[in-house]
């Protein structure tokens, strides 16, 4: 059966059901927490930098929706071997993709299967879920110390507006 929409692809669900990088890196050189207060997504990204300054390994821990967790797992795959500058650039590319500023085809080469999250651009309330790990990674590499919130500056959850 086909997925009811383009978001919950077998690739994403595989990363959710059988994540490769969902553990705490014991020898992490940096960790950073990112939260989406209205969703309850709360992920911590861990990274170990090699002696030459490139990213040797990335992992994630925490709880969240399938989109935030699958996206984090895909990101961890892609970060290995990049310099922090390259990693930040990739985070920016991913941000453009999920905000609909870049097509999936245009991003596939760099983002590999993470490009499948492009369809989330049509679901504005979910963009922050896909972005959480990437924004947290980006802020960690910029030396941020405060937990990152992808809802900073965004419209709050409207809820049952009265």
């Amino acid at each position: 059966m086909a997925s009811p929409n383009q978001l919950y692809t077998p690739a994403l669900l595989e990363h959710v059901q059988h994540p490769d990088w969902n553990f705490k890196l014991e020898d992490a050189t940096c960790s950073h927490e990112g939260v989406n207060p209205s969703c309850g997504d709360d992920l911590t990204i861990h990274a170990r930098l090699a002696d030459d300054g490139t990213i040797a390994e990335v992992s994630w821990t925490g709880e969240g929706c399938a989109v935030s967790k699958g996206s984090a797992d895909m990101m961890a795959d892609l970060m290995v071997g990049l310099t922090p500058a390259e990693a930040k650039e990739l985070c920016a590319t991913f941000g453009e993709l999920v905000r609909g500023e870049l097509s999936a085809e245009g991003a596939e080469e760099e983002l590999d299967e993470a490009a499948c999250l492009a369809s989330i651009a049509h679901m504005p309330a979910r963009v922050k879920c896909a972005e959480l790990a990437w924004r947290t990674m980006d802020e960690m590499l910029s030396g941020a110390t405060e937990p990152s919130s992808t809802e900073d500056g965004l419209v709050p959850d409207a809820g049952d507006a009265r």
């Binding site: 059966m1 997925s3 929409n5 919950y8 969240g64 959850d157 809820g159 049952d160 507006a161 009265r162």
Partner: protein, 423 residues
Amino acid sequence: MANLCRAPRLSAAEAANLEVNPYKADFPLLVANPELAYLDNAATAQRPACVLEAETRFYETMNANPLRGLYGLSVEATAAIEEARATFARLVGAASPREIVFTRNASESLNLVARTLGEQVLSEGDEVVISILEHHSNLIPWQEVCKRTGATLRWLYPSQEGFFSEEEIEATIGPATRIVSITQLSNVLGVEVPVAAIAKRAREMGAYVVVDGAQSVPHVPVDVRELDCDLLAFSAHKALGPFGVGALWGKLELLEALPPFLTGGEMIDSVTQEGAVWAPVPHKFEAGTQDAAGIYAAGVGLAYLEEVGFEAIEARDAALGRALMEGLAERPFVEVYGPEDANAHHGVVSFNVQGVHPHDVSSILDGANVAIRAGHHCAQPLLTWLGTSSTCRASGTFYNDARDVERFLEAIDTVWSLFHGLA
């Protein structure tokens, strides 16, 4: 003005048959989207054609600034608002249309109450009692007024199913209680709160009783005299009317005693360089130009609800609650919150699918053209108390039917199979 609202009139028994749905045809959005199962009525209702036509008709035939002009059109615009005011008053059992104050929404009504009544009567040592079921709009205004006045906010807790015991009511509402502000129907659990019993205890303690009727007014017959409350807030958009129109009902003598909330044009009798004399109630609380077309159309929406009739509405809500609960009970991977008795849900069912985040559930349901809400439903303290950060919520109303429930349950199965590799 002629009654331009003709709604299907079904007996309770007929309305409880979800296979029959004469209502949908009156709702242009539902007609245009026959495959849509709209189950987010607790967030906002769909609007019948007569409401949309009323808004247009106002601008086409009555448009002028109400209350100001001395010419025919303005008089007509004023009459349109006052006709709506009479409908609002009738729906909640007000003694007079003058007891209805128009606001933008229930939140504004509750802010009005907290800022006027709250600031007038509260001081250090006093207590305001609300319940853990409250929507943020009946919580934050009280948190803020308590901070300003030094009063203490106290909470009523129900059983896990959402029912309040007499002991809890007696233990929480006491001599220090000055205001009790309580929802009549939970937007998360669907349970009805025993407002009359709470009001009785509050009266004995000499406290004011404020009711948040945002969720109850479209679903149960509301009679402010029977509830014995002082003030009741509700909004039009959950009751078939346009966005941006709300109301506050208040006992006339209380409204007269309260100071104005917002000030400016329309709410004064006379103004000098030094001060002003307030207009009589309700206009004292209606500063600035109102959304006259919206108010007029909101009155038509409430008239449509009256035509459908609360016997039919309650019977259909209960039938929807049963169909939703029975369907979910057959799926052991779904956890349902609130009463075990489906009839007590008023068509509102909050639930979670094991191991799947509610936002994922709602996105997958959206892919199947089923609209539900996921999140904290503007009741974060309640969800924390329930031990979860968010839930999914299907909320039905009289224009939903068996097909909507069926589509919803099919989509829930899709969620489960997607996440368990069965797809």
